[in-house]
Symmetry: C2
Subunit: 198 residues, 2 copies
């Protein structure tokens, strides 16, 4: 095989298989097994297909949202998953992830490496309608999983209803109907004892 471009693409496809071994804090519904980044990204992509009608921005580019959620966690292959409520771990998160992005996206042919990197930077900046809606999905998916696993991750030390509400606050402006669902789910989770009120 002397198709250098294709070989670079295949090398990247092999490398990102590691997403299936980057474990998140929450578990898969009905199990005690932690969800991994590949599963999480797939779930977000299907959710983007189904929930786009709730984005405040009506002419949102849904394919771009899907592309963003498919690649948004790739940098964790080298930088690892940082628990969103871990203040110390979040201090150097962006630096670690920038190095990871450089290393990972450079495996691809330059044009595609740049395309994926730009999507990731757009996601991290949370300024465009697409990246804002991708961030909304990234918040609400673990909330749905935690609600359906009796608050698995929410039982870790230091997690309170106020922190979960704050973590999801991006939905208030960007997807008000989903924000309403978030608020009611948090309230119900406190009632059911899945989450400490504070």
């Amino acid at each position: 095989m002397d198709n250098e471009r294709l070989l670079k693409q295949i090398k990247f496809i092999v490398e990102i298989d590691k997403m299936k071994q980057i474990f998140r804090q929450n578990v898969v519904i009905g199990t005690s097994r932690n969800e991994n980044d590949a599963e999480h990204s797939w779930h977000l992509a299907v959710m983007a297909m189904l929930l786009s009608e709730y984005a405040v921005e009506k002419d949102i580019d849904i394919f771009k949202v899907v592309k963003i959620v498919l690649i948004h966690d790739l940098v964790e292959i080298y930088a690892g998953d940082t628990f969103c409520y871990d203040e110390k771990g979040n201090e150097d998160k962006l630096d670690r992830e920038k190095c990871a992005a450089e290393r990972l996206f450079n495996i691809l042919p330059e044009d595609q490496g740049n395309e994926i990197k730009n999507l990731w930077v757009e996601y991290e900046d949370v300024k465009t309608p697409e990246s804002c809606f991708a961030a909304c999905l990234d918040r609400i998916q673990p909330l749905i999983l935690n609600y359906n696993t009796c608050g698995h991750t929410w039982k870790k030390p230091g997690v309170t209803s106020e922190k979960v509400l704050k973590r999801n606050a991006i939905l208030e402006e960007n997807a008000p109907e989903l924000w309403q669902y978030v608020k009611e789910t948090i309230e119900d989770s406190v009632k059911k004892g899945y989450l400490i009120k504070n």
Copy 2:
């Protein structure tokens, strides 16, 4: 929450979490753990983003390809994964999957249930450029994983190089450059002892 439409969508999102527990025949690279359908679908979606230039049909709708690969295995939540080289299991596969589709897609609001069902039917029919390219990705992804796990699945009884080549034959017409990669990879796998020649 009295938003009936949203509650149906959330119910579906919860139900398809089960994709993370439908295991395939191949393993994740570097592990002895079987890949699941959610991981497989995510991998195909990223591959669709990267490899679309190799589709013979130049005005292919890549977003549709991505949507198809994201949902193409959902029916396995109720119908289970059928090993592609299991002749007996494949006899009633379509009937089992049609029942599963009816049950699963009806959870969604009618318009979205129909949209997903139509994408799945299109995939199964393998007639449009998008479904043909989705099928190409669905064939080449396990080939890449098997090649990178010393032929894990190919060592099961009855699998031969001829059968793997036949399984991938759809690439010959629909993505000739990827077909070239497939042929060379199978040849190399036989040399390396990952796959029996026949």
